[in-house]
Each structure stands twice: as C-alpha cells, then as structure tokens.
C-alpha cells in the first residue's frame, strides 16, 4: 500500500543557536496520487465504489432558478456514476419522500426522469430527510466503498428536530458507523452554523453555493473528492521532544476523544498543510535535535484496518541564520491560517453587531498578508487570498449582504483550516 507523504518545513532551514525561540513548523501531508494500479490491486478500478444518497430540499424557497439548477446537478451526478455505484434520492419539504431507494446506477434515464419531476413546495423537514437519506445508504453499506449522504438545502430546518447540536451529534454518530455526510448550502438563507459542523463532524465536505449556476461545479468537486478519497478517520498526534513545547496548532482542529487532532479525509491531489508553533529552548551551534514525533492514524479507502504512519522531524542549529533565505510556503501557510482565524473573529464581531470591527479585522489581515507575502505577491494563491479578504471586507458595508458575507467568511475559514481548495 502507498502511504501519504509527510514533509516538515521550517521558516529557515536551520534554527538559530543559543536562544529560546518560537518556531513555525509546516507539516504537509500529501496523499498518494490516484493511479489505477492494476498490478498490486486486482479488483481496483482506480476509484472506490460509491453508495450515495442525495437529499434534496424542495421547500417553497427553492422555487425557480435554484430548483432547476439543483435538478440539473442531481442529473449530472447520475451521469457521472458507474453501474457498480449505488444512488438513492430523497426529497423533502414538510414531508419527506424517498424518490427512489438505493439502486445500482444502471438505468440512468429512469433515475433522471424521476428527478425531473421534483418541484418546489412546503417547508423544511431537514433532519428527518437527512435520516431517510442515511437509511437508503445504510440498506446497502459498502465495506470498502464510500457511503455518503449529500444534503442540499437553501433553508432553515423548521420541522421536526431543529436543534443544531443534536443534529451535529447525530451526524458524527452516523459517521462513526460508516456513513459520512456532505452538505451543500445554497444562497444566503440557510444556517451555516448547522450545515458546516454537520459536514465537519459527519466526515464529509461543507460547500456553499452562492449562485445557482455554481451547483453543478460543486457537485463535480464533491464527486471528484469522493473518487479521490484516499483515507478516512484521520487523526494526528504530535509529540514534542523534551524541552520543546507545542504552543499552538493554527488549524484549530477538533480533538478526538483520545486527545488527538481530528483531521479531514485525505484526498489524492489535495495536500493538507498543518502549522504547529513550537517553543524551543537554546541549543549549541552545530547540534541536532529531534524536534517532534508525528503519528498519523488513518484508514485507507481500500482497506478495513487503520494504519499508523510515524515520522520524526530533526533540525540543526547554526550560529547564524540567513534572514533573507526564508521558505515562502511556510510564510504563506502561517498567514493563510491566521487569516482563517481573522475570518472567524470577523464573524464573531458581526454576530455582536460590530460590523465596523469585523471590517477592521479583515483589513488588518489583508495588510498583514500583503506584508508577509510581499516577496511572492504574484503567486496566484496569494492574489486570490487578498482579493477574497478585500471583497468580503467591502461587502460588510452593505447591510443587505450581511447574511451572505457571514457565510463567505465561515466557509473560507473552514476550507483553509482543512486544506480544501476554494471553489
């Protein structure tokens, strides 16, 4: 089996000797590339089998463009699936209906015909619909494939169980039993404080679709992510050497019940950047030190057993450190994760009604990013980050945009912390 690659980077290649210091360590986890390796895995088709349930909101607010695009996206999904995959569709408003139960994707036209008849009506029984979607998946659990519910909604749960904590806890409970949940929120009126944690605890992805036109693109990203999934149930422990202390892990990961960092699923083609800040005591020039031991626990998609990858990072101390020679990737990773925190801080201020404060926080983040990344300002990722901060900051001036701005902040912060590429 191919393991993910773990690399360590520090701002300077060597640490300065003779003084206490705080060191940013970038830990980059790169899942192996997706390759149909027929020689080593006889039954491997190049991607895991999928067992999906689309849970589609058809409440009144979906009427018009949103409903049309959601139907199109669902049909796109049908088109992309293989006969070995399974798909079920659940629709919901105040009633929850199984449009069709989990079936092999062999008769695509029949599935699409059924989807075409879904129109908007009624209010939003989100919880029950999600449970029903989970049930269609759980009828035919795949051992090694991916069992997932994709919940698509533009509204607030207002029928049945509506308590956020309760639904999020259940989503985690279901993930622990082998079915993950992704959520797609459309527009400005859904509850990101429900849909994001639901996907995060549910082992899936959280997406925000601003314009109905983006639906299809998000579906494609979600499907590609499923196909590229390398490992799930990923956790990390960092064990500092004696005399070294972990001050902070900038990604703000949740902890597992055994105190490890809970990491997102590993996807081929999506490296995950983690930054740990360490306090390191004074060492002699020329000496070497094993700074950090890393243990990465994960369950590969094509295996039943959890694996543990162990690696250590050793650094060298030098009497002088060349200040001009810094690692851009470390600077960028630190700054982007700090910006994720700034976005969360801005959200808090918005919630407190302090819009000027929120705008100020984002302005500071923008200034800091420009300063820190000045020597590589032309890097596309840096330009996008600056544009995103500037745009959200200015959108805060518009009262009508507040709900949407908050969602943009929430999702951008989450995607940076979990290594998801922005849409």
């Amino acid at each position: 089996m191919e393991y993910p690659k773990v690399e360590f980077f520090t701002t300077h290649a060597k640490l300065e000797a003779g003084r206490d210091q705080t060191v940013d360590v970038l830990i980059r986890i790169t899942p192996p590339a997706l390759s149909p390796d027929l020689s080593t895995r006889p039954n491997w088709k190049g991607r895991p089998d999928l067992n999906l349930s689309l849970v589609l909101d058809r409440s009144g607010s979906m009427e018009g463009e949103k409903m049309i695009r959601a139907r199109e996206a669902a049909m796109f999904c049908v088109n992309q699936m293989l006969p070995a995959d399974r798909l079920g569709v659940v629709t919901f408003d105040d009633r929850v209906e199984v449009l069709f139960p989990s079936e092999p994707v062999t008769n695509k036209q029949a599935m699409k015909d059924l989807i075409a008849r879904v129109t908007a009506r009624g209010s939003t029984a989100l919880h029950e619909a999600w449970v029903r979607g989970g049930l269609t998946v759980s009828e035919r659990m795949l051992d090694q494939g991916i069992n997932r519910v994709v919940l698509i909604t533009d509204g607030l749960a207002n029928i049945g169980i509506t308590n956020t904590d309760e639904i999020v806890t259940q989503s985690m409970g279901l993930y622990q039993r082998g079915v993950s949940t992704s959520t797609i929120g459309i527009g400005a009126d859904f509850n990101e404080d429900l849909l994001m944690p639901m996907a995060q605890s549910g082992g899936g992805n959280a997406w925000h679709v601003v314009e109905p036109d983006d639906m299809r693109h998000i579906f494609q990203t979600e499907l590609e992510g499923l196909i590229a999934q390398h490992a799930h149930t990923v956790s990390l422990s960092l064990i500092p050497a004696d005399g070294v202390r972990i001050v902070d892990v900038l990604n703000d990961f949740d902890l597992t019940e055994t105190g490890r960092y809970r990491l997102p699923n590993l996807q081929a083609g999506s490296p995950l950047d983690i930054v740990a800040q360490l306090k390191v005591g004074a060492e002699d020039a020329g000496s070497q030190m094993r700074l950090l031991d890393l243990r990465l626990g994960f369950t590969p998609q094509d295996a039943k057993q959890a694996e543990v990858l162990k690696q250590a990072h050793t650094v060298e101390f030098a009497s002088q450190v060349e200040n001009s020679l810094v690692n851009d990737e470390v600077i960028k990773a630190v700054q982007f994760l700090m910006n994720a925190r700034a976005r969360n801080e801005a959200m808090k201020r918005m919630d407190a009604g302090d819009y000027a404060g929120a705008e100020f926080v984002l302005g500071v983040a923008l200034t800091e990013t420009r300063a820190a990344c000045a020597s590589f300002a032309a890097m596309p990722a840096v330009m996008e980050e600056c544009a995103s901060l500037a745009e959200t900051a200015s959108s805060l001036k518009d009262r009508l945009q507040h709900k949407l701005s908050r969602k943009k902040l929430a999702y951008a912060a989450h995607h940076r912390q979990t290594g998801k590429l922005d849409q």
Partner: protein, 194 residues
C-alpha cells in the same frame, strides 16, 4: 489483527496465567510502540493484577475453584488500555475512556469492529433516530418517604466487598452516568485503602 481479536468473542480464560498468555499474544499482534521504556508492551500477570487493582480491568465475577474466569470484555479492556498507553494517555484518562464501556464500544475504540457489525450498525442507529423520543420516565418517587418502607438488597461484588441497594434505586441510564458512578465508587474505595 482485527480478526484474531474478534475470534476471541465469547471465550473465557480460566485463571490469570491463561488470560495473560492469550492477551500477550494479541498485544504483540497489535504492534504497539513501547512507551519510552516505562511500560512493558506485553502484559504479564503482575501488570494485569495492577490493572485490576486500578480498576482499569473489571474484576471478573465468575470463578472456577480459586481461579478467576476472565471474559472477552476483560480482554478488550486490557487491549484498549495497552493501546491507549501506547498513545501516551495518562492512566486517569484511560480509566475514564475504558470504564463502563460495552464490548461494542471497546471494539470501536480498538478499531477492530467487524464489517458485519458495521453493516447493520448505521441502519439501526438511524432507525433509532426516527423513533419518537422516549416519553419522560415516570415521575420520581416522592422524597422524604419513611425509610422503613424500603427493603435493601445485598450484592457481593467480590469476596470482601458488598453493595447494598435500596429497592427504589434505579441504575444510571447512560454510559456517561455509569462511568461517573464507577469513578465515585473507585474513589471512595481508594480513600478507605489509603
């Protein structure tokens, strides 16, 4: 490894030496890292006795002659303790995680759940979520009742330790509360010993 642990399901081990031998083999199979030389990676009889005293492994109720009869649950408790130790967790935290857990929960913690278990688990879970919420338990019995109207039952936990239960006592409803109760009990016992 998963299979070999699950194969032990339902088995009993008569006496400490037998229990130590089987669990030793399984622990070697777990390929746990030895923790900085402070903890032996394969449990011997002494270690197991220590775990029993610390309440990390539940004391077996069943006996054959003078020998304790250890169960599959005891085995899972021991393996989980070893696994969590290898993950550098303190004993206090390990006790919290292991105490009061069912076989199923320990299998999940160990990461050895069989696919068969998993297959129906999600479905059962979701069905339980759809079921209407259980109605509130009957109103608690009125307070300040004359104590003489209750009877007490004595339960022997192990030689030398008895539990006295009043007839109107209801055991804790959740795993969390059970764990809390066990911890309080262990704490009280310790204070007696110290």
């Amino acid at each position: 490894m998963a299979m070999s642990v699950l194969k032990e399901k339902g088995r009993k081990y008569v006496g400490l030496p037998e229990f130590a031998r089987v669990s030793g083999q399984l622990v070697s199979g777990l390929q746990l890292e030895q923790q900085r030389g402070t903890v032996t990676s394969v449990p011997d009889e002494r270690t197991i006795r220590y775990y029993l005293a610390e309440g990390l492994i539940q004391t077996p109720e069943e006996r054959q002659g003078t020998a304790s009869v250890f169960s599959y649950l005891n085995l899972l408790q021991l393996l989980t303790v070893k696994k969590l130790q290898a993950e550098h967790l303190p004993i206090r935290k390990i006790r919290e995680l292991v105490a009061g857990k069912s076989e199923q929960e320990l299998e999940t913690l160990l990461g050895v759940r069989g696919p068969a278990g998993k297959k129906t688990e999600a479905k059962q879970y979701l069905e339980s979520l759809l079921a209407p919420a259980p109605t509130q338990a009957a109103a608690p019995p009125p307070q300040h009742l004359d104590a003489s109207s209750h009877s007490w039952q004595r339960v022997e936990i192990e030689p030398g330790l008895e539990l006295h239960v009043r007839s109107d006592y209801a055991p804790p409803a959740t795993t969390g509360k059970t764990r809390g109760l066990l911890e309080r009990a262990i704490h009280r016992l310790r204070r007696l010993r110290d």
